[in-house]
Symmetry: C2
């Protein structure tokens, strides 16, 4: 049974792309078949896997609009078992084009119906907004995984995001669950990280992953080599944390 | 002569809000009359100035849609000479509502025409996207100030943003200038910051501000107190950098 998970948070720069890429890599490393959907017109996940700008069409845009055969839109990555739907700048146009189309929130869901059974996990990397692209992702998903940077503004955005999830449950996707909240860029050197972690663990204990992703410069170096940090430097603190996150996610599935 | 400047970059979490708030504060400190427009539905700039969630309507949404008298939408801040147009969640609705409206990119511009002469500077804090709200900001602006986090993904987004600016010059705003690129969250401890700074300073020397904003935990602590860092801790490295940025901006105006 394929599980579709959206990595979403309207706050920018909280680690959505980094978490999507490395969770996908860690799951593929334990023999899961994984599809990563790059739904952000910035195309950071596509860059992070070394997909050149010239090789991104057809990609997610053509897939959503039904312009190409789905299989043509997929790309293999350097990781066995991990495929990606790459994002190009065209995707920014989809935001406006979809507004006046019937069933506008379900285009991605309808596309994924045709191919998702070939995968154990589909992870969707969302742009930093609650716009039509993100609504398409949440309509297509079984659950949402929320990366939360250990900063004040992130905490403030969480309340707004949880309200939006409630609204989505009563409209486009009654089955949407919260997979969990993962604390990212935790910096032991400053108290702000500890305060934010304490707030979230206290208010939403049932949703917060035990694994916390530390701030680790190796993580931010990896994208310039077109690799997830798990491949760039498997022994660094960031990689170890992402492997722990994957095993925590898998053990939650079982119970 | 009022100057309207957008703080924009579709990459999330690069310091748009932090730069908008502290530049506005530093300009007000040297007796300029300043209006900060919070154009992000997240409302981080409104939070950063301590505007409570209950006090944000009427605000930017009502101002853009022409639902209220402009003066009703403005709020004074704790800083003399600095006013804010606060953002509420309604603003997220404007993205979809504006798509089918005539002259959809010029709603903010038309609204600002009526009130901007009361100010020396209008700074617009944009959401992390190139959507209709950001297009409204760029249509209304004399120039764009681009905060650029010293990270690889930011660098990649810059090329895309510069192309978008070219497109805007040939469509909705032929007069749009580039005010400059300001490097943010520079971390002396890691080489990535230095590499990104070197790349930008080498490729676009005429656009990069000499002032670089260092990563400084006091900056990220300030929002939880509802104050810009310039008020929260005027002597910290972040505050000193923002004051230098304001004087660099002012000296560029004169020449
Ligand atoms: N654990 C970490 N340690 C250090 N840097 C990190 C870590 N996680 C992410 N980063 C860096 O922080 C920046 C933001 O991360 P990322 O791009 O994954 O966030 P995002 O939420 O996807 O951003 P956007 O909102 O623009 O889509 C990137 O430059 C990334 O390399
Ligand atoms: N110089 C700095 N040193 C340390 N932290 C900083 C600095 N500048 C900004 N921050 C923190 O980094 C985070 C991102 O900054 P900010 O919210 O201003 O970016 P943004 O571009 O406005 O984000 P968004 O794309 O979500 O609108 C915030 O938590 C902020 O407090
Ligand atoms: Mg991202
Ligand atoms: Mg912001």
């Amino acid at each position: 049974m394929t599980k579709v998970i959206s990595l979403a948070n309207q706050k920018g720069g909280v680690g959505k792309t980094t978490t999507a890429m490395n969770l996908a890599t860690a799951l593929a490393a334990v023999q899961k078949n994984v599809l990563l959907v790059d739904l952000d017109p910035q195309g950071n996940a596509s860059t992070g896997f070394g997909i050149s700008l010239k090789d991104r069409t057809p990609g997610t845009y053509e897939f959503i609009e039904g312009l190409e055969d789905s299989k043509e839109c997929l790309r293999a990555t350097q990781i066995p078992g991990l495929y990606i739907l790459p994002a190009s700048e065209h995707l920014a146009g989809a935001e406006i084009e979809l507004v006046n189309v019937d069933d506008r929130e379900n285009h991605l869901k309808n596309g994924l119906q045709k191919i998702k059974n070939a995968f154990d996990y589909v992870l969707i990397d969302c742009p930093p907004s609650l716009s039509l692209l993100t609504l398409n992702a949440l309509a297509a998903s079984d659950s949402i995984l929320i990366p939360l940077q250990c900063e004040f503004y992130s905490l403030e955005g969480l309340a707004h995001l949880l309200k939006t999830i409630q609204r989505i449950r009563t409209t486009i996707n009654p089955l949407l669950q919260i997979e969990g909240i993962v604390l990212t860029m935790y910096d032991r050197r400053n108290t702000l990280s500890a305060q934010v972690a304490y707030e979230v663990q206290n208010h939403l204990p049932e949703h917060v992953f035990k694994t916390i992703i530390p701030r680790n410069v190796r993580v931010s170096e990896a994208p310039s080599f077109g690799k997830p940090v798990l491949i760039y430097d498997v022994r660094c603190p960031g990689s170890i944390a992402y492997m722990n996150l994957a095993s925590e996610l898998l053990s939650r599935q079982k119970s």
